[in-house]
Amino acid sequence: MRTHLIISTANELLRVAASRIIYISSDGNYSNLLTSGGEIKMVTFQLGQIEEMIHKQLPEVASTFIRIGRSLIVNINHVYQINISRQQLILQDRDSIYTLSASKEALKALKEFIEKSI
């Protein structure tokens, strides 16, 4: 079973365990990847390309990643709190908490998905 996401460019290769990825956010033509421990890594791929890499490279664990709108991919194992009225999605990694923003509709859908998976 493949457990690591490999993001490779002409000059660089990034190999990250899927479980260590907290979220990936879009930054124009680039993406920021936040890993466990708070390290943020900028990669020169669009978010859609990262989504495709996860789908292809990590077929068995890809379903733990949720694309939320156009600008966010989150690891569902790190979801800590969803607050629809405040449009807040809070992710947790050990002692750290990361607050993200998303649309109410997307957060509502995410909440329903997690409720169904109980």
Partner: protein, 294 residues
């Protein structure tokens, strides 16, 4: 939105592992549609060319080698066959004739009941049997019967290596050509008989076969509603033999085991005649089509 956003809105979520549209999909779909359209156009052009060529060939009638046409004129043998007494006479009426330089002998069983038999017992039973010919072929590798076979309602063999069939249901013999025949099931339901052989004639037209060698040929034929066994007296190709059957007015015909296969018949005077070689007797699954006194 860039193509890599995969048409997702800010109000939506997507589980990545469930499904993801491939970025190349629109391009592939375009290519697929284009390929189908090109294929359709090419097929139409080829079809048109074939039709044009065929229509041209139809008009090219040669002087020395005329294109064979289906003979609609009744052969004199047909009048003879239909005139036979099928009420009081019991036995086999034979007729020798020559068609397309092929000497043929016709065997017409009168007032007899048809059935199939397996084994050599029936060939020795001359008390009731009127006409006996080998029916289905036997596989060279395992000595089993070739093609589907039903004996008194019991299916003994399955298979479709030969498309000609003969079904015997309630004393009614039906000959035809088909991949699947309901007569197989009907034979199992009504304690009937069924076997398969090479098709020779279907609806009055010759059926081509792969067998190209020459041999003594036998065919089970339907001529004007009457079942007739026709045998060539010389070695013939299956094509020439089938053409001769067509020319005497056969509407349906399948092959029977030919060459020196054993057979027997009793004429209307009660005299019996042996056909083919009666020895050796080495095949347990040898099958015969038998007509006997009711």
């Amino acid at each position: 939105m860039t193509p890599n956003n995969y048409d997702i809105l800010d109000t939506e979520i997507r589980i990545i592992g469930d499904s993801i549209p491939a970025p190349q999909k629109p391009k592939r779909r375009t290519w697929l549609i284009a390929t189908i359209i090109i294929g359709l156009i090419a097929s139409i052009i080829v079809l048109c060319l074939i039709i044009i060529k065929h229509s041209k060939n139809r008009n090219e009638v040669g002087i020395f080698e005329q294109t064979p046409v289906h003979n609609t004129n009744p052969h004199p043998l047909r009048a003879w066959i239909t005139s036979l007494d099928s009420i009081s006479t019991i036995g086999v009426v034979t007729k020798d004739t020559i068609v397309n330089d092929i000497p043929l002998q016709l065997y017409v069983p009168l007032n007899c009941s048809p059935r199939l038999e397996i084994g050599y017992t029936c060939i020795d039973d001359t008390s009731k049997n009127i006409l006996v010919f080998q029916a289905a072929d036997i596989r060279a590798d395992n000595l089993e019967i070739v093609g589907a076979f039903v004996l008194r309602g019991e299916p003994l063999s399955w298979g479709l290596s030969k498309k000609g069939y003969c079904g015997i249901i309630e004393d009614q013999v039906t000959i035809g050509v088909a991949d699947n025949s309901p007569l197989f099931e009907l034979a199992t339901e009504k304690a009937g008989y069924f076997f398969r052989q090479y098709p020779l004639v279907s609806n009055g037209y010759l059926v081509e076969n792969e067998l190209k060698s020459k041999s003594m040929r036998r065919g089970l034929c339907e001529i004007d509603g009457r079942i007739v066994v026709v045998a060539s007296q010389t070695k013939e190709s299956l094509h020439d033999f089938a053409q001769a059957l067509v020319d005497i007015g056969t509407s349906q015909a399948i092959y029977l085991v030919g060459s020196a296969a054993m057979g027997w018949y009793r004429d209307t005077q009660g005299v019996g005649y042996a056909l083919g070689n009666w020895e050796p007797r080495e095949f347990e699954n040898i099958s015969f089509i038998v007509w006997s006194k009711p």
